[in-house]
């Protein structure tokens, strides 16, 4: 393939990927986790306040990398932020991950890179979580960079590739502490690849040790800077190491997110829920199998190519096994190991196209591949634009229901008729799992208090509006019946919030509606 054709096709893929990732970013209501991250970022944006929390929320890179996006869009306060501004961050890193695949051209070839880029661009799970304000897509971006830099270094050792690998590794760690799973898988894959290498590796020379030091030094410096909030919180980096204990316990303990070992593979291969459509990324899995065969065929490509392909095989198998064996599973954790499948699928598809010498058969394979990738793209569209918050979409997980936005709309309408407008007192009395994403949606109200129990919230009658979980409704029944008008809203499937409006405000509201 000539350079111009490659550049043109790659550009087309990037444009398509951008379309799927950037369009209508505010379509889906904010997820509980997104709202948590948004408020954490809001504190950094408004007050420069960030301290690493080893118990939750992962590393700081998401927050620091959100800053330029917010500044560029003139959002200097939490209130000025929007879903679109926040989700632009993962969306851009999702597109960036595709661009980084260009680094693989000398390793797996132009055709394989093009087909991998296409897979990454239209994979439903990749598109869906590129539009989700959490760390996963950033981790994916840095992982692509790290693997590419490592192999580029291996191909032609230099201090620049060593530093690049160190930078990406440091950013991976500063994005999610659980990146150690990917690091472990990469190390094990390297070891296994060297076993299959035909030439025995030589002893590392003095320059190699120097490069290793450069790489490690860069990784430590990058992660240290971010975890310590640029040296304002010296404990941050130590806490990031101590967090392993927290995540190790969480990974193994029985809890909300325990799923069987085959959860990820089954979700990718085939899923259908109730009357919903069938979802499958089976094409990627099948092509990845072809990629595995190509990696171990003696006739395919040069030794360097085969080594990097074999590395990808081992990385994919080991990381998939590691993520599958950990009982704690959420669908966004698919991304780091699925990257391996996509790279192998690209190589597998390229190998298939080369394998057939008869033009007609090759054209048929091409058409089948085109139809398969189109189908993936259609599913990506369906997942992100038709079923973005529908539980029948396998990637929708503990997602806020669209109906929840009607609660927010009602509160806005009530504030419009309240004499204090957005300074009216709102009391939220709900368990922490039932509280979010209210703090995000009520961020423009000045007087909102959050309690987990009615006993601590003081007299309810003080509030113009109260939002409670259903458990509190029973406890507050006598007050609510006398003084409030109550309405139910669905927060998540089978989880409700109840909006209580003080009777006199409700009367005012009804009058204003009648006058309209």
């Amino acid at each position: 393939m000539n350079k111009k054709a490659f550049a043109g096709l790659f550009l087309l893929i990037v444009v398509g990927a951008a379309g799927l990732r950037l369009a209508d970013l505010s379509l889906r209501p904010m997820h509980h986790d997104e709202a948590n991250q948004a408020l954490k970022f809001g504190a950094l944006l408004e007050k420069g306040d960030y301290r690493y929390d080893r118990a939750d929320h992962h590393g700081p890179s998401l927050y620091y990398l959100s800053l330029p996006f917010a500044r560029a869009l003139s959002a200097n306060t939490l209130a000025a932020l929007s879903e679109r501004t926040l989700r632009l961050v993962p969306a851009c890193f999702g597109i960036g991950a595709i661009l980084l695949l260009l680094l693989f051209v000398p390793l797996i070839g132009k055709e394989a890179v093009l087909l991998s880029a296409l897979g990454l661009a239209v994979s439903p799970v990749m598109v869906y979580f590129s539009r989700f304000y959490i760390q996963e897509t950033l981790l994916l971006f840095f992982l692509v960079g790290f693997i590419a830099a490592l192999w580029r270094y291996k191909r032609r050792p230099s201090w620049t590739w060593a530093a690049a690998a160190g930078f990406f590794a440091g950013m991976m760690y500063a994005t999610k502490e659980t990146s150690v799973i990917a690091f472990g898988s990469i190390a094990a894959a390297f070891l296994l690849t060297s076993v299959f290498k035909e030439k025995k590796p030589g002893n590392p020379g003095g320059r190699t040790w120097m490069h290793l030091l450069i790489g490690l030094g860069t990784a430590i410096l990058v992660s240290l800077s971010l975890f310590t909030s640029f040296f304002q919180n010296p404990r941050g980096w130590l806490d990031s190491i101590l967090s392993f204990k927290v995540y190790f316990i969480r990974a193994g303990e029985a809890g909300f997110h325990v799923h069987p070992w085959h959860y990820y593979l089954q979700t990718l291969a085939f899923s259908k829920s109730g009357s919903g459509p069938v979802w499958s990324e089976g094409l990627i899995l099948i092509l990845a199998a072809a990629g595995i065969v190509a990696a171990f065929r003696r006739t395919s490509g040069a030794e360097a190519d085969r080594s990097s392909l074999r590395f990808l095989v081992f990385y994919t198998l080991i990381s998939t096994a590691a993520y599958s064996l950990i009982p704690y599973k959420t669908p966004w954790n698919i991304l780091p190991f699925y990257l391996g499948f996509i790279l192998l699928a690209g190589s597998g598809a390229a190998a298939l196209l080369k394998a057939f010498r008869i033009r007609l058969i090759r054209a048929l394979v091409f058409l089948l591949l085109a139809a398969g990738f189109l189908h993936l793209g259609a599913q990506a569209w369906r997942a992100s634009f038709v079923y973005p918050a529908d539980p029948r979409n396998p990637y929708v997980y503990a997602q806020t229901c669209p109906g929840f936005l009607k609660l927010i709309g009602r509160v806005e309408d009530l504030a419009a008729v309240h004499p204090d407008r957005k300074k009216m007192l709102i009391k939220v009395i709900a368990g922490p799992y039932e509280t979010w994403p209210l703090p995000w949606y009520l961020r423009r109200f000045d007087r909102v208090g959050y309690w987990t129990d009615a006993a601590g919230a003081g007299p309810l009658e003080d509030a113009a509006v109260a939002v409670t979980d259903t458990e509190q409704v029973g406890r507050l029944e006598s007050i609510l019946v006398q003084s409030f008008q109550s309405e139910y809203y669905e927060l998540r499937p089978n989880v409700f919030l109840v909006l209580h409006v003080r009777a006199n405000l409700w009367e005012e509201y009804l009058k204003s509606r009648a006058e309209r």
Binding site: S275, P432, Y450, A457, D462, S486
Partner: protein, 227 residues
């Protein structure tokens, strides 16, 4: 994650009563607005993903016994049904009175978005003793603007008795209702028509907390024979 629960409770005990200061009141001389420090939300990880039916604890107790006059019978089974939307999105209009009450797919009818009604013709005017409705119960939901009416007039122009109305903001335009919203469960919702005599029963709804569509699994009308 630190959970500043004690701080939240302490702050709310101290400042809770102060929050009652009516901020809209005119400012008195020599006084200033009390700046309240309200508790902040607790940061917490991903919540449970609930896909299975009725896993979450729903408030309310199981329905107790409901007493009706002796001789009360189910009179709606297989009776003709009409609807404001005679071309349902899913299912058949007739499933409203077919006696099947399962919450699974295939046992409910789905009508279009917004305000919709179904109407049952009991064939004779008789004293109604109970109306039991299952909108949808494979997932907890609250249906909006549930209004139950009974009448001898098939067009519901005259002699309309409103048995239940929880349209508290009159968004359906049939008058403000004072009844409370309720969460759908497998028990269905029982409405008490208090012996009102009618041939037709009309049930309105206006979407639900999950989507804007309207659903019925089954409606049962119980009555005593007309004298």
């Amino acid at each position: 994650m630190k959970r500043p629960i004690f701080l939240i409770i302490a702050l709310s005990i101290v400042f809770g009563p102060m929050a009652s200061t009516p901020s809209g009141a005119a400012q008195e001389q020599g006084k200033e607005e009390l700046k309240l420090q309200l508790p902040k939300p607790m940061f917490i990880g991903t919540p449970r993903n609930i896909n299975s039916p009725n896993l979450e604890k729903i408030t309310g107790k199981p329905r107790g016994a409901f007493f009706v006059p002796a001789g009360t019978k189910l009179v709606s089974l297989n009776k003709p049904v009409i609807a404001s939307d005679m071309q349902p999105v899913i299912g058949e209009v007739g499933c409203v009175t077919d006696g099947e009450k399962s919450g699974e797919d295939g046992y409910f009818v789905e009508f279009g978005p917004g305000k919709q009604y179904v109407q049952i013709d009991l064939k004779t005017s008789q004293p109604l003793q109970a109306i039991l409705v299952w909108h949808y119960h494979s997932q907890a939901r609250v249906y909006r603007d549930v209004i139950v009416q009974a009448s001898d007039d098939k067009d519901f122009i005259s002699g309309v008795i409103t048995v239940f109305n929880n349209d508290h903001d009159n968004s359906s335009g049939l008058g403000i209702g004072k009844d409370k919203e309720y969460i759908e469960t497998f028990e269905g919702k029982l409405f008490d028509p208090r012996g009102a005599k009618a041939r037709y029963v009309r049930l309105w709804s206006n979407g639900n907390t999950s989507n804007d569509m309207n659903h019925y699994v089954e409606v049962e009308v119980y009555a005593t024979p007309a004298q």
